[in-house]
Amino acid sequence: MIQIDDNRCDLCGACVGICPADAIAMSELKLRIDPDTCINCDLCVIVCPFNALEAEHEASKV
């Protein structure tokens, strides 16, 4: 699961462009990540210029 921090997100679209699974949608007002489509590659987390995304994988959810 990718968590979005809406306060940090600037709706720039870099993560949408990098997502290999087309799991991210961005309207004028909000970013959405579809957890069923997401393949947990974390590329969006890596590319976000504002650190607005965080990966919450099973392993780290202890």
Partner: protein, 394 residues
């Protein structure tokens, strides 16, 4: 959206989309231009630098767009050696994209294009054979479907239109620059000078820019290569730079952005669809500049779309004429620049410092970008050839 059917629908009203719409309409096509944001040209995710030629090739220059005229460019090495580059007088401008993008959409409207903001396209209409036949959009909470003969995807770095049509558009992480930019006020900068900082500490795998906008304003930003964001996100690196170099600055605007420094997509057309601008990955892979090349791709796509409408042939085999024209006009050069990019943005700080130490001895009037590349690629004839051909072709 007064009609139920259009010849051409353009998704995204950036420079590429507006140019596509202008040229489709000029060629006689009934054209609709859709933009998801409430304002065209805002927010500005751009350092707003464009060369004189790059701008005036596609539109008549309006002085209202110009915030400053650039006369000098300075490259700065990791050890802070400043390397001024020889330039000609009409080098380029820092423009105001808020006004510029708005005016381009207005020019489109003048040509008879219907422009609609707050129109968020969320899917495509397709025929049984997969050909694109229009768009699905959300307009102020209402779901609408609008048919067209051709759709032009001009939806920027975040493009999804191409994917919905079945094209492979995802950018590789090494081909994405993760960018942050401040527009700052109250700093002492020369309005005719642009600065580029290279190296690990400023912007790993990218560069940092200071682009003056007059009145002691400047766009200060940086791009970090997607593979190299481990040292901190773009925003943190930028904040650090500002604190050290311009502690007196007031930050008026903060934006994030992604720049695809990739080769143009292998396929930028399919039945009933063309991609332009950032959506097609038309950005210059070295400079990261995409305004001029986006406009070029938009113009070419708009012209082909209009011809296709006139001929009644919206198939990929006809629309591919656009991709051929793009490749000839700019795409091939971008492949050369891409190969060069793969080398220069991997140079270590030591290599950059040693290059600066060498080229600083060249008299400034002869210290062109080409001379600098020649020094760098002395023992690499293949890359030298790429650069020579690319510069001749630009």
């Amino acid at each position: 959206m007064k009609q139920v059917k259009y010849d051409v629908i353009v998704v995204g009203a950036g420079p590429a989309g507006s140019l596509a719409a202008i040229h489709a309409a000029k060629g006689g096509a009934k054209t609709l231009l859709l933009e998801k944001d409430r304002d065209i040209g805002y927010p500005v995710r751009c350092a707003e630098g464009v060369s004189h030629i790059g701008l005036t090739n596609y539109v008549a220059l309006d002085p209202r767009w110009i915030r400053s005229t650039i006369k000098d460019a300075i490259l700065i090495a990791p050890d802070s050696t400043q390397v001024p580059v020889a330039t000609n007088n009409e080098m380029g401008y820092i423009i105001d994209r808020r006004i510029f993008d708005y005016d381009l959409a207005m020019l489109a409207a003048k040509e008879g294009v219907e422009v609609q903001t707050k129109a968020y396209v969320y899917d495509l209409l397709k025929a049984e054979n997969g050909a694109v036949t229009g768009v699905k959009l959300d307009y102020m909470g209402k779901k609408l479907e609008i048919a067209s003969k051709i759709v032009i995807g001009a939806d920027g770095v975040e493009s999804r239109v191409g994917r919905w049509a079945g094209l492979h558009t995802a950018v590789k992480i090494k081909d994405m620059e993760s960018c942050a930019q401040f527009t700052v006020a109250g700093i002492n900068v020369d309005p005719g000078k642009i600065l580029f900082y290279f190296g690990e500490s400023w912007a790993p795998g990218g560069y940092l820019w200071v682009f003056p906008k007059g009145n002691n304003l400047a766009n200060i930003g940086l791009g970090v290569n997607g593979e190299r964001t481990g040292l901190g996100c773009a925003l943190d690196l930028l904040s650090k730079f500002l604190k050290n170099h311009y502690p007196e600055a007031s930050i008026l605007t903060t934006v994030a952005g992604g720049v695809p420094v990739a080769k143009t997509l292998k396929r930028i057309t399919t039945d009933g669809l063309l991609l332009v601008g950032d959506a097609a990955r038309t950005v210059n892979p070295i400079s990261g500049g995409g305004i001029a090349t986006g406009m070029l791709s938009g113009k070419l796509a708009g012209e082909i779309a209009a011809e296709a409408i006139e001929k009644g042939d919206f198939s990929n085999s006809y629309l591919e004429n656009y991709s051929k024209k793009w490749s000839k006009a700019q795409g091939k050069n971008h492949e050369r620049l891409y190969r060069v990019k793969e080398v220069i943005f991997r140079l270590t700080d030591e290599e950059l410092n040693s290059l600066a130490a060498k080229v600083i001895n060249i008299p400034v009037s002869e210290r062109t970008l080409l001379r600098i590349f020649k020094t760098l690629f002395m023992n690499r004839p293949a890359l030298m050839k790429d650069i020579l051909l690319a510069i001749a072709g630009l």
